[in-house]
């Protein structure tokens, strides 16, 4: 499982990095989204990968078998903040597009 998850994280990171290095604002925002998926999974993963364990307290199940709730809480916060910043970046790229007339990240008007 770890291998699959790690590979998935790596691939999303790679794709995200590639995209945020592109010149178009839309590519950047998509790249940031991919990166935040990767990072969220990463945070989640550091708590140890456990399948098929109860995610909430259940009587009679020893606590040690439960999934680590801390990374989950962190991911939740990260998701929310990621959502907020994505929205913000979107609006800023729109504003930039409106003011410069182009969707280039530097406001340049080249066809690349």
């Amino acid at each position: 499982m770890e291998l699959v998850l790690a590979t998935a994280i790596g691939v999303m990171t790679g794709c995200g990095v590639w995209l945020i290095l592109r010149p178009r604002t839309y590519q950047v925002i998509v790249g940031l989204s991919l990166l935040s998926y990767a990072v969220n999974l990463f945070i989640f993963g550091v708590g140890g990968v456990k399948t098929n364990v109860p995610p909430i307290l259940v009587d009679g199940v020893p606590n040690s078998t439960l999934a680590d709730p801390v990374p989950q809480a962190l991911v939740l916060t990260a998701i929310v903040i990621g959502f907020a910043t994505t929205a913000l970046f979107l609006v800023v790229l729109l504003a930039s597009r409106g003011l410069t007339g182009t969707d280039h990240v530097d406001g340049r008007n080249d066809p690349r």
């Binding site: 916060t77 990260a78 970046f89 800023v92 930039s96 003011l99 990240v105």
Partner: protein
């Protein structure tokens, strides 16, 4: 726990937060009310941080650890007030008063929700200064950043939006690095509390510690982006110079937040123990590169705004270098330098707007956009509430000269005192008989060169601005705009005159930082409030 005064620790976060929320209930048209509430909040913050500083440096053994939610240390989030955080809080509060007063002349009116965002920026800053928890630090970092995005974009216009986009993109990337770093640290050390982490480091087995260090490295990059280390700093001059004047004025402390965190964490985590000295080289060389780049940029800047922006880099570079050396005496001087340069740069950013008014491209852009957008719900900036100044040019000139003197580290203002304090520790009486090493020579040369560059650049700019303009119209400057600038400059003067006590405070601060045990024990030994019935809080039901 000493009753109500103990809750004072959290006031720097709560006051602006509650005020920000309250401000949302007022219409944009009730601007005066909003401004007054906002101003009151910043004044309260000054009072609170003064009180905290007093208490902190006072004689009685103040318990500066605040257990949020009454959870014991590594489990809940703690706020920690020590000499360093108290100092930063005060600095932030002072800057905020100045910037806010400045904004009341016109800037607070050119866009929506200025005051709310301003207050939330303070929430973020103060929270970051106070928190003793890594992830909570992330959260407050984000609060601060989010507010800073809004404030940077405040007033809109192509320059701001472009700068804002770059700023946001880079900082979003930084936030991701932050998360990676924090989670790596949690995954390897099993804790998020800084003190607990510091205490755990010696017990972490090597394999895991390596990963922990990798996490710390990634985390460090996030902070270094904020602090503006070369080559992660290119956004900074652009963003700061594009921001409206009061915003840039308060931004002056944001890059210092990066420095603050690095200082805190390196002293706490890597001061001693198996990971001691981790990353010091990076800070040293990065600082050198930053200082060189900042200096070059200061020289190369035509626009005052960029000059000021690069001055931020110079200041950051200097501080990073000192952090890389990690010598107590030098660090004390560096703290003084931090305070002085923050005050200076803040004043300078606001001053620039006044000086350039009339020939200011930003104002023209603003005017154009205001006209083109012609939104009914957009309010014209109100001019004329307040009194314009007599002898404007003279006062502006004096302030400008003061900024120049401060930036280049010429005597007698605090810029000099601070540089002297650092240099003296490196090669003066602070290092009697120890011949300066090659590194020290490099540092000294760079510090001096950066001062020279500032001198050259500031005289060039000053002459161009004040003396060569062809019968330039005297800018319309309101009293409430120049007073904040003068206030900040006055603070540097006060810092100069009171250099002795100030330096003593810095010394104490650095001394307590270099003994992380104090911090660690304070946090780990802080006990939650006992229950009503006197039983400690391990009881079910209520706690």
């Amino acid at each position: 726990m000493s009753g109500w005064t103990h809750h004072l620790i959290i006031a720097p976060i709560l006051v602006p937060l509650v005020v920000a929320a309250l401000l949302l209930f007022f219409d944009e048209r009730q601007r005066v009310v909003k401004a007054m509430i906002s101003l009151a909040s910043t004044l309260i913050l000054v009072a609170v941080s003064l009180a905290l500083l007093r208490i902190e440096s006072g004689p009685n053994d103040f318990d500066g650890v605040y257990l949020l939610g009454n959870w014991a240390a590594p489990f809940g989030i703690v706020l920690v007030l020590d000499a360093l955080s108290a100092l930063m809080l005060l600095l932030a509060a002072l800057l905020s008063v100045a910037a806010l007063v400045f904004s009341l002349a016109r800037w607070h009116a050119v866009g929506a929700h200025f005051h709310t965002m301003f207050q939330l920026l303070l929430v973020g800053l103060n929270g970051a200064f106070l928190t003793g928890d890594l992830f909570n630090l992330f959260v407050f970092f984000e609060v601060m950043l989010a507010a800073s995005y809004g404030l940077l974009l405040h007033g809109s216009g192509p320059l701001r939006v472009k700068a804002g986009m770059h700023y946001i993109a880079v900082n979003l990337a930084a936030a991701l690095l932050f998360l990676i770093g924090v989670s790596l640290i949690y995954g390897t050390a099993g804790t998020l509390n800084m003190a607990d982490l510091a205490a755990r480091i010696p017990d972490i087995e090597p394999d895991r510690r390596m990963l922990m260090e990798a996490g710390a490295g990634v985390l460090g990059i996030a902070f270094l982006i904020k602090a503006g280390m070369w080559p992660l700093c290119f956004w900074l001059p652009t963003a700061y110079s594009a921001a409206s004047a009061p915003v840039a004025g308060i931004f002056a402390i944001m890059s210092k937040l990066g420095i603050y965190i690095i200082l805190r964490l390196t002293m706490l985590l890597f001061g001693e123990g198996p990971s001691a000295g981790f990353g010091a080289d990076v800070l040293l060389y990065g600082g050198i590169a930053t200082l060189i780049f900042g200096t070059v940029g200061v020289l190369a800047s035509q626009a005052l705004g960029r000059l000021a922006g690069f001055s931020v880099l110079v200041s950051s570079g200097t501080l990073l270098m000192v952090l890389g050396i990690n010598d107590g005496a030098i660090s004390s001087g560096a703290l003084l330098y931090l305070v002085s340069s923050t005050l200076t740069i803040s004043a300078f950013f606001m001053l620039i707007e006044l000086v350039e008014r009339g020939q200011d491209a930003g104002a023209i852009v603003l005017a154009v956009t205001m006209e083109a957008y012609g939104d009914a719900d957009d309010d014209e900036p109100e001019e004329g509430d307040g009194v314009t100044m007599p002898g404007t040019m003279a006062i502006l000139g004096i302030c400008f000269a003061a900024c120049g003197i401060l930036l280049s580290g010429l005597p007698p203002l605090s810029g000099f005192i601070a540089k002297f304090a650092m240099l003296s520790a490196m090669m003066g009486t602070g290092a009697i008989g120890v011949p300066p090493t090659a590194a020290v020579w490099v540092l000294v040369t760079l510090v001096i060169l950066s001062g020279i560059a500032a001198l050259i650049s500031m005289t060039r700019a000053g002459i161009r601005t004040f003396w060569s303009s062809l019968e330039g119209t005297v800018p319309r400057v309101l009293v409430i705009e120049i007073v904040p600038v003068m206030f900040l400059l006055f603070l540097t003067l006060a810092l100069t005159v009171q250099a002795g006590p100030a330096m003593q405070y810095m010394d104490t601060t650095i001394r307590s930082l270099s003994n992380p045990r104090i911090y660690i024990d304070a946090v780990r030994n802080a006990a939650p409030v006992a229950d009503y019935d006197g039983v400690s809080s391990t009881n079910a039901g209520s706690k």
